[in-house]
Amino acid sequence: MVRVGERELTWQEGMTLEDVIEALGDSYPYSVARVGSRIVTAPHFASVLVPDGIEVFLVPLVAGG
């Protein structure tokens, strides 16, 4: 199982962060996410594997100080 906010997704072997975002059916242009505490940017969404039982946080915007 992978948790994303209130959603719980069924984990699959080889599941990537891109797969997680696609499964959400959300068209928002996410650029940054956290897999657990690890920060991942969109160019790497397709190559980052998501472990079973992890929580994914979708960072909605990078705003800058």
Partner: protein, 713 residues
């Protein structure tokens, strides 16, 4: 150390501390160090209405202190420090900021720089909405504003250490009388005297770690102004810190909205940017992945070694514990490294505490120098702070010197034997120590990029044209640490910023380049209207911007304008209303800022700047200067020439394509200026029109006189 300190009283000024009323002390403090004269001036209702507080008050005091002929080191240049009506609120995140203004040694015009720490709130609770220090002391001097004893003293001092972290520690205990938390110290360090890029350190006492911690007002050489006034420190003494101190008009609403924002940060920050754990270090790998992290003097935006300086590394280095630079801030992002042992300089081999680094320092003193060593960055951070150097200007200046060295514009003869190739750790640190002593090539680098260009051309025969392209300064201020080549909106954010290229006025790079939220010219112009104005508002009120947009509501992405984080804007309008009793809506916040923003532009004009020509940026900020830069991203640039500009590039050399792209991008930047000036109600020369200043209610006779002198009105 304290026992060595000897202080001789030059003047004492006793006063009766007023009660704070709805966020205001309703008076300002004026100190002339030349005559040792001190005076209090009232704050009128009109001053509050028009200038609000904070930077607005600073600018008004500065306007009245200086003439068009005033230079940064003239006695009449006033160093102005203010909090703001919301500053000092002990329950709302990010409410402890001070803002400093003066005529800058790097730009010759008005600079503003904001900073955390306890000083601003303590100044206000001691009875002053703003402080203006003019004149020059003949001997090393400290100014002590004691709100508890209700007196201001000018003291000549001997035996005070030179370095900022020791000055803060010594004075905190000397004046704290067993209560160190009652003290906040403003100081600089030895390099401020010898360079033009000196910073100010503002302290706050960290009980858990039993030490004074430092935050910096870095930009524009404000520490250099301080040092040249003969100031060693300004000390504020105050106790207690309570919600009632600010006398909010509606305490219940304030508590309600503060709780909402505080709780949201506690819930959302661990899921988003983790500022409370890693500060702004999270940006390093994000910027790198999007080709936005400056490397090798902004030549490139990415390096495979960047993760070696990412949040995971600094998260492990930072000392664990609460790091809020003001009471009640749940974002608490002021992290530091404990027991760091420098490898060079006067503190070599000794354990020190380093406040930082933040993203700008990691990028400026690391990647932009071609160095990806976190411990090196920590050492640069330590010495910059304690020597009183702005890490951004220091990093950008050294990066320019390094590229000049690599291009053969300067050589070892000019650098005093230092090998300034990118990646030279020892040389970079050697420059810092030279700056602190005012010696060698470090003293040249410490003049900043604009003056280095002049010196290199005049004395070393270096090619001025090349240096104009690669020297990353505008208006005389060094760029902060983002690559703007691929974001026209960020080019405007840097080039059209009033004080010079600092991201705190308009940070649009991600919204524009990554999210493509503003594809049309008009949208970019609108963004370059709204964002600088809302960001200005924080500086009027004594607030930090980070709680606004570095953590966002869980449902923010579903709102109509997620980039503005309108839920927070609404909370800020409630916060302002609750403290001041002046009932405002979000649009009113923008109008408040617009007044001060235009007034600041006209102050720049008064000082001989503030026109279209001053909004120019070097081509390195707009696009690839060299064939090497072009070819490193050839697919991107070729694609743009073909698909965006419809240019047939078949058979063209890389050099020809560099020139073509340059012409197109420079034209586009000039078009952006026109669009932004139109949106702001300015002339094509970048000057606010008479109609604009009348609409804003700032058509004072002295303002109209400046406009008339420049052919407007």
């Amino acid at each position: 150390m304290t026992a060595k300190l000897r202080a001789r009283e030059v003047a004492t000024f006793a006063y009766r501390r007023p009660a704070i009323r709805k966020g205001y002390a309703n008076q300002t403090l004026h100190v002339d160090l030349s005559s040792a004269h001190m005076a209090i001036e009232p704050v009128s209702d009109e001053m509050k209405e028009v200038f609000v507080g904070g930077k607005g008050f600073d600018l008004w005091l500065l306007w009245n202190a200086v003439k068009p002929s005033t230079r940064w080191d003239d006695p009449e240049n006033a160093l102005c420090i203010a909090s703001g009506p919301l500053g000092g609120t002990s329950i709302y995140p990010g409410s402890g900021k001070s803002i400093v203004c003066a005529i800058s040694p790097t730009t010759g015009s008005c600079i503003d720089s904001n900073v955390g720490g306890f000083f601003g709130p303590y100044l206000k609770f001691s009875g002053f909405d703003a402080l203006a220090v003019s004149g020059k002391a003949e001997r090393p001097t400290i100014l002590v504003i004691d709100g508890i004893d209700q007196r201001v003293r000018i003291l000549e001092v001997e035996g005070l250490p030179e370095e900022a972290h020791e000055i803060s520690q010594v004075l905190t205990h000397y004046f704290g009388q067993g209560k160190p938390r009652t003290i906040s110290v403003v100081s600089t360090g030895p390099a401020a005297q010898h360079t033009r890029i000196g910073c100010l350190n503002f302290s706050w006492y960290d009980y858990k770690r039993s030490r004074s911690r430092l935050k910096q007002a870095g930009r524009g050489g404000i520490g250099t102004v301080f040092a040249h006034k003969g100031l060693k420190a300004i000390v504020a003494r105050w106790d207690p810190i309570t919600l009632a101190m600010n006398d909010p008009a509606d305490a219940e609403t304030l508590k309600k909205v503060a709780k909402l924002h505080s709780q949201e940060i506690v819930e959302q920050d661990p899921k988003q940017n983790r500022m409370s754990s890693v500060g702004t270090a999270h940006l390093v790998t994000i910027m790198n992945d999007y080709d936005l992290l400056p490397t090798q003097n902004y030549r490139f935006g990415r390096d495979p070694r960047a993760p070696e300086m990412g949040e995971a590394v600094f998260g492990a280095l930072f000392d664990k514990g609460f790091d809020g630079c003001w009471v009640g801030c749940t974002l608490a992002c002021s992290h530091g490294v404990k027991d760091f042992v420098p490898s060079t300089g006067p503190y070599k081999g000794r354990k020190v505490f380093v406040d930082g680094p933040e993203y700008e320092t990691i990028a400026g003193c690391g990647s932009n120098l071609g160095i990806f060593d976190p411990l090196f960055v920590v050492e640069m951070n330590f010495y910059c702070d304690t020597y009183g150097l702005d890490t951004i200007s220091t990093g950008t200046s050294i990066a320019f010197a390094m590229e000049s060295f690599e291009l053969g514009l300067i050589g070892k003869k000019e650098t005093g034997g230092l090998d300034l190739s990118f990646g030279s750790r020892e040389a970079a640190l050697a420059l810092l120590h030279q700056m602190a002593r005012g010696e060698g090539f470090g003293a040249v680098v410490g003049q900043g990029v604009r003056r280095m260009k002049e010196i290199f051309a005049r004395e070393y025969g270096a090619d001025r044209r090349v240096m104009e392209d690669i020297g990353m300064e505008a208006k005389g201020l060094e760029f902060s640490e983002y690559m703007s080549k691929e974001s026209l909106a960020q080019q405007g954010g840097y080039g059209l910023a009033l004080k010079g290229p600092q991201h705190d006025e308009a940070w649009l790079i991600f919204l524009d380049m990554v999210h493509n939220f503003m594809p049309a010219f008009e949208q970019k112009a609108e963004a370059l209207h709204w964002f600088p104005l809302f960001r200005t508002w924080f500086g009027l009120c004594g607030l930090c911007k980070l709680p606004w947009n570095d953590v966002t509501p869980a449902d923010n992405r579903e709102t109509r304008e997620p980039a503005k984080v309108m839920q927070h804007v609404e909370w800020y309008s409630q916060y302002f209303s609750a403290v001041t009793g002046r009932i405002v809506k979000p649009a009113d916040l923008i109008f408040m800022s617009e007044r001060v923003y235009n007034f600041q532009r006209i102050l720049c004009l008064k000082m001989g700047y503030g026109r279209r020509e001053h909004d120019t940026i070097p081509y390195r900020a707009m696009g690839p200067v060299s064939v090497e830069e072009y070819e490193s991203r050839a697919e991107r640039y070729d694609g743009q020439l073909r698909e965006v500009h419809h240019v047939d590039i078949e058979g063209k050399s890389a050099a020809e394509k560099v020139a073509l792209l340059r012409r197109l991008r420079e034209e586009r930047y000039e078009q952006l200026k026109d669009a932004v000036y139109d949106r702001r109600g300015w002339t094509r020369d970048g000057i606010p029109t008479a109609e604009t200043v009348r609409r804003l209610g700032i058509a004072f006779p002295e303002v109209l006189d400046v406009l008339k002198a420049h052919g407007v009105v």
